[in-house]
């Protein structure tokens, strides 16, 4: 289960990424952040964000209009 959940629903680029970064800053290595977003662009953006920052994108899934990302903080 995620240690923290970030609801970024209704927010547009780049807010989901900025909010996620802020949340990650307050977390410890090994903890998992779950982000929920409605921005279709966030699928590619979270992949790029995690690749660049070295955080581990455990999963990237969608349920209806909601995109869900699980990020393990490095």
């Amino acid at each position: 289960m995620a240690d923290q959940v970030l609801n970024a629903e209704g927010l547009n680029c780049p807010l989901p990424i900025l909010r996620a970064k802020k949340a990650i800053k307050g977390m410890s290595a090994g903890e998992v952040l779950e982000v929920r977003s409605t921005d279709p662009g966030s699928v590619a953006d979270f992949a790029a964000f995690c690749k660049q920052t070295g955080n581990d994108l455990l999963s990237s899934t969608s349920e209806g209009d909601i995109y869900k990302f699980e990020i393990k903080v490095s």
Binding site: G10, N12, P14, L15, I17, L18, K21, Q52
Partner: protein, 167 residues
């Protein structure tokens, strides 16, 4: 938690910000804040019409004038605005209000919000000294985080940066 390898791999970006209208304020602030969130060291250099984006009180304006590619979503379609309509009194202000409503409705950040994010993520924001002099802006009317510099200050950063943008 940076180790030596992280510092060697650290990326940097500079952006010259030359436009300060509501629409043109977005690209530099979106890229600047996102890059900072991706651990990039970001410097933004505000010059000419970009400098007012560092004023404490932002009151950003928008005009459809001279913007032939601008199409506003309207009743399921899109509407462009001929220059002659955009010139009518009140039309620019109305278009600005429409744009701000659209921004809010679509969950797009305000420029105030993005600038705050830039401050929080240590984006270096340099105000152009020559522009301050030229247009008689006072440093005390600008945000406290503004540093003052000139072309050489910018160049020193740009020469060391991986990405340099002019917007």
């Amino acid at each position: 938690m940076l180790d030596t390898q992280d510092i060697e791999n650290a990326k940097s970006m500079s952006i010259i910000v030359t436009k300060g209208s509501l629409d043109w304020a977005y690209p530099p602030f979106i890229l600047g804040t996102t890059a900072a969130a991706m651990d990039v060291d970001v410097t933004m250099f505000f010059t000419f019409y970009g400098l007012p984006l560092l004023k404490k009180d932002l009151n950003l304006k928008f005009t459809p004038l001279g913007n032939a590619a601008m199409e506003m979503p309207m009743m399921g379609g899109h509407m462009a605005m001929p220059n002659i309509v955009g010139m009518l009194p009140g039309v620019g202000a109305a278009a600005g209000t429409m744009m701000k409503n659209l921004i809010k409705k679509k969950g797009v950040a305000s420029i105030e919000e993005l600038r705050e994010a830039a401050v929080e993520s240590d984006v270096k924001m340099i105000g152009c000294q020559m522009t301050l002099d030229l247009f008689e802006y006072k440093a005390e009317d600008m945000i406290d985080e503004m540093e003052i510099g000139g072309a050489a200050t910018y160049m020193e950063k740009a020469l060391k940066s991986d990405v340099n943008l002019f917007i």
